[in-house]
C-alpha cells in the first residue's frame, strides 16, 4: 500500500487539486473576508498530520477589507521560507464558533518525500504502529533542501 500516492500531502481544503494560482488564492481570501473571517499565515517544515499548530508568520489580520493585505503577507512569507509548507487560515470569531473556518496550503516544497509506517514490536507478538515523516529525518534547516 502506498501512503502517499500523489507525492503531495493532503491537508486542508483544495489539497487534492493542483496548486492554486495567485488569482485563485485571492478569490478564496476575498470569500473569507466577505464572511468576516480574519486571515493568518502559518508555515512549517514538519507536515505530520498530528502537527496541528504550525508557526505563525506575523499576527492574524483582523478588520481587513481587501485581499491585497493578506497576499502581501503571503509574499513576504514565501520569500522567507521558499521551500516550507505555508498555509492560510481563516478564523471565524463569531460567538459560539471562535474557530478556524478555512485552511489551505499555498506553498509546498518541490519534493515531498511523504510518510512511512513504523512498526514496533512490543510485549511478545503485539505490534504498535506510527506514522513517520521522512522529511524530519534531516535536521530542521536542511529538510526539503535537495
Amino acid at each position: 500500500m502506498m501512503t502517499n500516492p500523489t507525492g503531495r500531502i493532503t491537508q486542508g481544503q483544495f489539497s487534492f487539486l493542483p496548486d492554486l494560482s495567485e488569482a485563485e488564492i485571492t478569490l478564496q481570501i476575498e470569500y473569507g473576508l466577505k464572511k468576516g473571517y480574519a486571515w493568518s499565515v502559518e508555515y512549517t517544515d514538519d507536515p505530520h498530520p498530528r502537527n496541528t499548530y504550525w508557526e505563525m508568520y506575523g499576527m492574524p489580520m483582523f478588520d481587513l477589507q481587501d485581499a491585497a493585505g493578506v497576499m502581501a503577507e503571503l509574499k513576504e512569507c514565501r520569500k522567507t521560507f521558499p521551500s516550507h509548507y505555508i498555509r492560510l487560515m481563516a478564523f471565524d470569531s463569531t460567538r459560539g464558533i471562535e474557530s478556524i473556518a478555512m485552511s489551505f496550503i499555498v506553498n509546498r516544497p518541490a519534493k515531498e518525500p511523504g510518510f512511512g509506517l513504523v512498526r514496533q514490536e512490543v510485549q511478545g507478538r503485539s505490534m504498535r504502529y506510527t506514522v513517520h515523516s521522512y522529511a524530519t529525518d534531516a535536521p530542521e534547516a536542511e529538510r526539503y533542501s535537495g
Binding site: P5, T6, G7, R8, F16, L17, P18, G58, M59, M61, D63, L64, Q65, D66, A67, A68, G69, V70, A72, E73, A110, K111, E112, P113, G114
Partner: protein, 323 residues
C-alpha cells in the same frame, strides 16, 4: 515521486488546450467607447453632484476632483482600446486650516475612486500618528504595516501627517513609519491611495524635510477658508440636518455672530460653526427647561431663538471692547 501516478481532477493535461479561455474573452461584453458610457456605468455623476450640492464653497478643490475624475474616465477609455499606461499616482495631500472639510472630502474621494474602479473597496481608514508609530524599538513596523493592510483596497487618510516627522528628536520612530509608508505608496499603488492632511505651513516644512514623500504625492489640494456667507450657509445646513431651524431674526443675529467670531483667534471654520450651534442648542434647552409648566409644541422644540444666540460670549466680549 513528485509527479502523480494518476490524473488529478482539474489538472491541466496535454489533451486539453487553453481554448475555452479565448472563447470567454471573445464573448465578453463590448468595452465602453464614450465618456457617457463610462459615466453611466460608474454612476460617478451622482457622487459629483452630491459633492457639489452638499459641500459649500471649496471651488478649487471641486475643480481638482473633477480633473482627477476626468483623467480616470479617459484612462478607462484608453484601456478599452488597448492603450496601456501606468496607473496614475493618486496619492494626495490636503492642506488647509482646521474645519475646512478635509476629512469630509477625503471620504467622498474614496467613494469617487471606488466608483471609477481605481480602488477596489472604497473604504476610508482615518489614522493619526498614534496609529502608525510605536512606542519602542520594533513596534513601529508591524503597527504601520497592520494599518496599511487594513487600508488596502481603499483610502488611507493620515490626519495631521506632519506629526510623523519630529526633527527635534533624532531617535523618533516616525521616520521608520514614513519609510514603510513610502515603500508601499510606490510599490502597491494599485492597492491603496494615501491622503495626507494637515495645516499648510506645517505640511510645507514636513515636505521640505521629506523630499521623497513630496515627490510621491501628485496632487496637492489647498482648502481655502470659508467666507462669511458660506459659513452662514453651512450653519443652516447643519441646523437642518439636526432638525432645528432659526426663529424670526435669528439668522440675522447668527450672521452678526459669525462676523464677530471671525475676528477672534482660533477660528476653526465649519467646526466653530458646529460648536456655536451646539452651544445655542444647550441654551435653547435650558430656556425651555426653566418653564416647567408650559406645554411644548414641535415648533418650540425645534426653534433657535434670537435670545439663544445673543447670550453668546462673543457678543459680550464685543460689547465690552466697544465701550
Amino acid at each position: 515521486m513528485n509527479a502523480p501516478l494518476y490524473r488529478i481532477p482539474g489538472a491541466p493535461t496535454a489533451s486539453a488546450p487553453q481554448a475555452p479561455v479565448a472563447e470567454a474573452a471573445a464573448a465578453a461584453p463590448a468595452e465602453p467607447r464614450t465618456v457617457n458610457q463610462v459615466l453611466a456605468e460608474s454612476q460617478i455623476e451622482a457622487v459629483m453632484d452630491e459633492l457639489d450640492r452638499d459641500l459649500v464653497g471649496l471651488v478649487p478643490v471641486k475643480a481638482r476632483i473633477r480633473d482627477i475624475s476626468a483623467l480616470l474616465v479617459i484612462d478607462k477609455l484608453r484601456r478599452s482600446l488597448g492603450l496601456e499606461a501606468q496607473a496614475p499616482s493618486l496619492h494626495m495631500c490636503f492642506t488647509g486650516n482646521p474645519g475646512t472639510g478635509k476629512t469630509t472630502v477625503a471620504m467622498r474621494m474614496a467613494q469617487i475612486l471606488h466608483r471609477l474602479g481605481y480602488v477596489r473597496k472604497g473604504h476610508l481608514v482615518a489614522v493619526t500618528r498614534d496609529d502608525l508609530v510605536g512606542q519602542y524599538i520594533g513596534h513601529t513596523a508591524p503597527k504601520t504595516k497592520e494599518v496599511l493592510k487594513k487600508a488596502m483596497g481603499g483610502v488611507l487618510f493620515i490626519d495631521e501627517a506632519y506629526y510623523l516627522y519630529r526633527p527635534e528628536n533624532e531617535r523618533d520612530y516616525g521616520q521608520e513609519a514614513i519609510e514603510i509608508l513610502l515603500q508601499v505608496m510606490e510599490n502597491q499603488r494599485d492597492d491603496l491611495v494615501v491622503i495626507l492632511a494637515g495645516y499648510k505651513d506645517r505640511m510645507d516644512t514636513f515636505f521640505q524635510s521629506n523630499p521623497g514623500m513630496s515627490s510621491r504625492i501628485a496632487h496637492h489640494l489647498d482648502f481655502p477658508d470659508y467666507s462669511q456667507g458660506e459659513l452662514l450657509q453651512i450653519g443652516e445646513r447643519m441646523l437642518d440636518g439636526m432638525h432645528y431651524r432659526f426663529g424670526p431674526g435669528a439668522q440675522q443675529v447668527f450672521a452678526e455672530y459669525l462676523a464677530l467670531r471671525l475676528q477672534q483667534p482660533h477660528f476653526a471654520n465649519a467646526r466653530s460653526v458646529r460648536n456655536a450651534l451646539d452651544r445655542a442648542r444647550l441654551r435653547q434647552a435650558s430656556r425651555l427647561f426653566a418653564d416647567r409648566d408650559r406645554p411644548l409644541s414641535k415648533d418650540d422644540l425645534s426653534t433657535i431663538e434670537v435670545a439663544d444666540l445673543r447670550a453668546s460670549r462673543v457678543f459680550a466680549a464685543a460689547a465690552s471692547t466697544a465701550h
